[in-house]
Symmetry: D2
Subunit: 342 residues, 4 copies
């Protein structure tokens, strides 16, 4: 990889402009600092054109080799179906391009092994696989709790993976290699121990399950350190999307995936964390505010409270301070809103 100019954006080529690819293009364009989508690699011209609308300045290519040859990209984000991954990863490695590859790496161990060999031959780790749960704040908190030993030793994990419904191309194997695949990655990462055995148990079929599928299932995963993991995989449950993990420790229980965030049962109490100060409580609000302002300011506009809002609040503060001083009720008198601010 050529030395990058530290102030120039990292130029990403997104490979595949289906649902996930289009989502990543919008993400890079609207939320990621220091990167631009410079190329959309997608053989379907309709999809490619739709994606380009969200990637100002990007070029379209139908093959990854052409984007590389044109020097149009500093790295690749691969969002094609899994069976196409190998054909993108090998040239990416050849070109020395950092690559974020949506899961799975490839659909089977043999093709994955070929990718590993190519990467090792190249001498540098270039490929990151898109197991995004490792970046979820609650999984991170749970892992820290496990590592801390604060609740004692980890003994079991109960996982549930529930989808309201699944798309038409989701088949019986996808239950394992498209859904439980996330637990296959995250469970060893949480427990600090590799998988040694897998067993799958049937339960009563959901009458709302599509004909081609037989689910829900209970998957039992054994880890090298003796921890037993059960995973409910359940993809036609209608009510919503829910991914939970309950960790059983020698002295407590921790649960993630509910709207409360991580709950910890320990020493006779079930507790959740409160914020320590405004920087965490309103982190999202600060980010959203500045991003909205930047987006509007580029067009010479504002996207939030105006100076008039600031004035009205200044009047209220004056009345509030006076009311605090004398204990009386104070009226707040603000002039008519000027037409300029209406």
């Amino acid at each position: 990889m050529a030395q990058l100019n530290p102030t120039a954006d990292f130029r990403v080529g997104v490979v595949g402009a289906g649902m996930m690819g289009a989502d990543h293009i919008k993400r890079i364009a609207s939320s990621i600092s220091g990167a631009t989508v410079s190329a959309v690699i997608e053989p379907d011209e309709g999809r490619a054109q739709a994606a380009l609308a969200n990637a100002p300045g990007a070029q379209a290519f139908s093959r990854v080799e052409d984007a590389i040859a044109a020097g149009a990209v500093d790295g690749l984000l691969v969002a094609t179906p899994g069976f196409l991954h190998e054909a993108v990863l090998l040239p990416a490695i050849e070109a020395g391009l950092p690559t974020l590859c949506e899961k799975p790496l490839t659909p089977d161990p043999e093709s994955s092994w070929r990718v590993l060999e190519a990467e090792q031959a190249g001498g540098r780790k270039l490929i990151q696989v898109g197991f995004m749960r490792r970046f979820d704040p609650e999984y991170r908190q749970l892992r820290e709790l496990i590592e801390s030993g604060d609740d004692g030793e980890l003994l079991m994990l109960h996982c549930a993976h529930r989808n309201a419904s699944v798309p038409d191309d989701y088949d019986q194997n996808t239950l394992i290699d498209g859904s439980v695949v996330h637990e296959f990655d995250i469970v060893p990462w949480l427990a600090g121990s590799p998988i040694t055995s897998i067993e799958v148990k049937e339960t009563r079929r959901n009458p709302l399950t599509p004909d081609r599928l037989s689910e829900p299932l209970l998957v039992l995963i054994g880890l090298e350190n003796g921890v037993l993991v059960d995973v409910e995989i359940n993809v036609s449950i209608q009510f919503g999307y829910q991914v939970t993990t309950e960790a059983v420790f020698s002295e407590g229980i921790a649960r993630i995936g509910d709207p409360t965030g991580l709950q910890n049962w320990h020493r006779g109490r079930s507790s959740i964390t409160e914020h320590a100060d405004f920087t965490t409580r309103f982190a999202t609000a600060y980010d959203a505010q500045v991003q909205a302002w930047v987006d509007a300011a580029r067009n010479g506009e504002i996207a939030g409270p105006s100076a008039w809002d600031g004035y009205r609040v200044a009047v209220a503060c004056g009345a509030g301070v006076a009311a605090m001083r004398d204990g009386q009720l104070h009226t707040v008198d603000v002039p008519e809103t000027p037409a300029f601010y209406a």
Copy 2:
């Protein structure tokens, strides 16, 4: 303002490099798409240098007029103490620069009025005030609920604003113009009606309150539409930071600010929203993953699951699919981790 190049970053001058300014500099550098910190305007040289470390390529200025004269900025983010705002806002308006100004606009109605006059004379809205709660997802949800009428008409608001402790420069007036100021903005925004009266009630003093302060207080705010609002302001409460609002409707109650997110009591049930699909449940994780990858990839590194992780999961998927097919326990055999990936 000159026409911006659509692919070039918006160049922000941050005015004031204290705690809030430094925080905004890091935010723009690490989380905001389409913007760069191009100038740090700060008379204290030590602070200026510290801030520049997080803003590669930015220039330092001691006065805002110099940064403007140098053509170094497309917009300003003002994070100085409030009493210095007017002296920054007037030249910013003069120069036609979009400006995000931390609250308060200015500390008193008279100076705020001068800013309004200047902005109107300029003919374009340039100033956005940093009442960031309007960008908080829960306040937005609550406002939507009020507007929807789903729980009936809004009748009351109970607000609490609790800090573990406050810094040394926080004085008695700051209770109103530094803290309750947020309610003075957000309450009319939520209720769709302006403030008409304010009253402040004392309660028992917190023995842990610094000598210079007398708090907590209960602030009663009357709105034009008859809604009565009470605000507990409480800044030495030790246990953490908590900002809650309980909205009383004609047919229900909604509460925000707890770890659960918005809770709604309606038709005999108290409920919270579940996710509909993975795009919201894991939105933070996807953003964090791609940002981490971009940051690492710029240095030719990876910052997440490697190809080896992808391979191990491919092996587990193979065993899992086989276990699903035959109902038996399958062992998962992964070769030793190559040194390259260790």
Copy 3:
């Protein structure tokens, strides 16, 4: 009062067989140990007869004096409207009868004073007033928390008192002397300090409030120790019944009245108590089980799992122990249910 036989039931005369009286009659007959309803004192014959159906062996009287003269009661439970209380309490005191009087003692201070004088003249405390919140487990827990000082000193109380709707005889004064009356009792009991001042604030009227009422209201109560209490009284809110209290301490917050039970925010965490063992977790179940069995056994019946259920479980235990020993799946074979148990 005559010396009671320790094994004989305490004979209660219930005065007033309206909604509350009928409820108390059922309670004594079905849930209270050591007491029987021996008399129903109610001038309305229809009500009296309906009530007697739930009080086997009780006599009906139309006047309390007659029940006393007949020697039919060891004590009285008064559940008439408040304006009739004085006329019952004075003869009860005269006769030396322990009396549980629904709130209010009487509707005004003057008549209450006359009752006090009579009781003092009698030389023994005979009257207990039905402020039942003092017996609610959550109010008790909150009071213990306040007394313990574990969250520091009590500074404020925020109370809400919400009814879905109110009956036709509920008038404007009832907001205070029928509903907030509970806070007038429980707040000094919680805070350990008497009431010194009261103020009532109007808010936007609920459009669903009956024409004769104007509510919700915010009642501000000052206590001698400086604690300020606000009470939302709100009686047409449709969604359900909710009575909450949020206690603000110098170092934390505690809230009661939600389905979770007492929540405590302290030292950075919000927590609720877990059970220590089965005696508290299943206390209600044990009580209900034994009561159901006693009620059925009096008729020679059973009201729960039969011996056949016990047999089936014994078979499952046998299979379960074997499965634990050998790690294999064991089938559970139970014969057809005999007709006797079907």
Copy 4:
């Protein structure tokens, strides 16, 4: 059984005065309406005497046959260890006595079968087995939800059974026949379908587990209707006592055993039930109040708010009504508490 006098108490003989027996004696004496402990059957004299202290008027017997012969009991409550049950149940059946027998009925299917035969020969169902979970409000709510079909069909049950620790006589088999035995009863009762298979999986041993035990375990239970049930049995977990069940439906999830009560995830929301009126919200308080009053009144005392409390509240109500009428602050002036009430 002889015809009972409808107003006389049902006379219970409690067999076994260990921990459970002593608990039942207190329960009947203090919380159960219509029953008295008339006999304690316990060969250990120390235990028998301790138990009699809580059962005024009861006689002690060392053998159940003697209590029966003495005509001292209308029914029996059996709380001896399970291996002694058969020897009590057979004479009880012989004597035609209604009997509540703590679980298990007997420890093995053969002895249970003998009890069944005796009961059938007697021609009337006399034995109720103490699976008290069927009387727990949350299990009842869950069963009603399953029967209602409101969340669709039941597909799976995830159960957890967690004890802080266990007594010294708890051995490896007790994990199944003393703890999971509750699930063996309640699961078919919830799901409406009998158990057909059982499998037990090991997980990592808790380092805090006593040497004689190997746990926690995961027990898999198959039901005739296809529902798969997993039960975590975990008895050295230190933090407290927790028994939860999560029911997986075709369109939702319901969970019981947390401090919130039954939570239901359905149609995009997770919800819990609010009270409809005060009769359920304060049911426990009303019961406790009347019981406390009866217990005190038997001794000519009161056990709650006095007439003086009633007077003080009457004064506050007067001030409150006046404050509501004129919108002003009213002071509340109560005379000194008379010595009589101090």
